[in-house]
């Protein structure tokens, strides 16, 4: 892939499209923005990341070839800049996922839905981190407490459910916009709806910015109909 790219585009270096053959940059930018803005971890874009990595490799190869074949260094540095930007997006995307895992690993490990969103490498990472963190907590606090109070997930054995798991703030506000006209978005929870008499179905025009709680639009973000900013 790299060689045909390099060879074909040398003669027409001003044609940007030949440099980035299939552009996955926009989808990556979208995934990165959503991941940055969403309070919880989103499904891993495995095939997108795979393609981007191949493209980065191809771009690196052709940049090397350009600089060897004596093309104007300015042009080469422009390509380099473009490559740097893509690499930043990829790294930042993966970083923000890891940081969410670090923060909410117990919560993610408890929820099948979230756990399925991790990549293979992320699963290994999560497991090991949990192990390290538990050891740290055990040594610092839990092993020194009385018997019935040593669980890391529960306050004491009398707690019926896990009540010591940090959860992502799903009720935080996010800035978002929709790609198409959406109607009948349910903004209130069931309880809130029962107590408030006025019930107005919320609608979103395409490309209009909204600031809104994350929880009600969660499923729309996951299905890709709403983008976060």
């Amino acid at each position: 892939m790299a060689s045909n790219l390099g060879g074909a585009s040398i003669s027409q270096t001003d044609d940007f499209e030949t440099f980035t053959p299939t552009t996955d940059v926009e989808p990556l930018k979208r995934a990165w923005r959503n991941e940055k803005a969403a309070p919880e971890i989103l499904p891993y874009e495995a095939s997108l990341v795979g393609r981007i990595k191949e493209q980065i490799q191809a771009m690196e190869d052709s940049i090397e070839e350009y600089s060897r074949s004596g093309i104007d260094p300015l042009i080469v540095s422009l390509y380099q800049m473009d490559l740097d930007r893509i690499q930043f997006l990829l790294r930042s995307y993966i970083r923000s996922r890891l940081q969410k895992i670090e923060k909410y690993m117990l919560y993610i490990l408890k929820s099948d839905e979230l756990f399925r969103r991790l990549s293979k490498e992320e699963i290994t990472f999560t497991d090991r981190c949990r192990h390290d963190m538990k050891k740290h907590f055990d040594e610092s606090v839990l092993s020194k407490l009385p018997n019935n109070y040593q669980d890391v997930l529960k306050q004491s054995i009398t707690s019926e459910e896990d009540d010591m798991v940090p959860e992502p703030p799903l009720d935080t506000f996010v800035v978002c916009k929709s790609k198409e006209y959406l109607e009948h978005i349910q903004l209130e929870d069931e309880e809130e709806r029962a107590s408030s008499r006025i019930e107005e179905p919320f609608e979103m025009e395409a490309n209009v910015l909204h600031i809104i709680r994350y929880r009600p639009i969660k499923s729309l973000v996951e299905s890709g109909r709403i983008d976060l900013l």
């Binding site: 930043f88 490498e121 907590f137 610092s140 407490l145 109070y149 010591m164």
Partner: protein, 200 residues
């Protein structure tokens, strides 16, 4: 008064600057832990008393029951405070790890950590490195969005000569010298405080 010391511990955490570590307050920490053990002793003796009087633990609602309840709640609250202290410090440690990956723990940070925290620091750094090598992606560079592939930097510490850069050239980073480098080359030195970026 129950819970006062644990409260102090958490206040200390909350009043500290975000992202900065203070010394691990092992003194206060141990005091809270022994308070927990004290609560547990009292709790058990109250429960024994109820049992000795031949009353059913589940249904008895006398003064001993409520006394035991208070000890239980105080203990649980202390546990939450202790965990909050360790948990939040662990979070700060992780954010420091992101900045320091690939280098040793600086002594001024090391002296602030408890033994277990130091262990955690090392292990977690290793985990991140494992992940990066598996992905074949260095996540420690590009911490800020790139504007220009090259930046101007000044060397703040004598890094030495013969440092090989990514384009296979070597550079001499003597103290106070100014260089025009690839951003990716310079970033690792900047994050360790060995260089600073010069902005026009």
């Amino acid at each position: 008064m129950y819970g006062r010391k644990a409260c102090q511990l958490v206040t200390e955490l909350a009043s500290g600057e975000k992202g900065q570590l203070t010394h691990f307050n092992s003194d206060l920490f141990e005091q809270v832990i022994s308070e927990c053990q004290q609560h547990h002793l009292e709790l058990q003796s109250l429960i024994r008393k109820v049992q000795e009087e031949g009353l059913d633990l589940q249904t008895t609602k006398n003064e001993d029951h409520f006394g035991a309840l208070i000890h239980h709640l105080a203990l649980v609250r202390n546990k939450r405070c202790l965990m909050a202290y360790v948990h939040n410090r662990a979070e700060t440690i992780r954010s420091l790890i992101w900045k320091l990956l690939g280098s040793m723990i600086p002594p001024e940070i090391q002296e602030k950590l408890s033994n277990s925290e130091e262990e955690y620091f090392k292990k977690h750094s290793a985990r991140l490195k494992e992940y990066m090598s598996k992905l074949e992606l260095d996540l420690t560079v590009d911490m800020v969005p790139p504007k220009d592939p090259y930046i101007q930097v000044r060397v703040l510490d004598d890094i030495g000569e013969g440092i090989v850069l990514s384009d296979d050239k070597t550079a001499n980073f003597a103290l106070h010298s100014i260089h025009f480098l690839k951003r990716t080359d310079a970033e690792q030195y900047i994050s360790r405080g060995l260089m600073e970026e010069l902005r026009g």
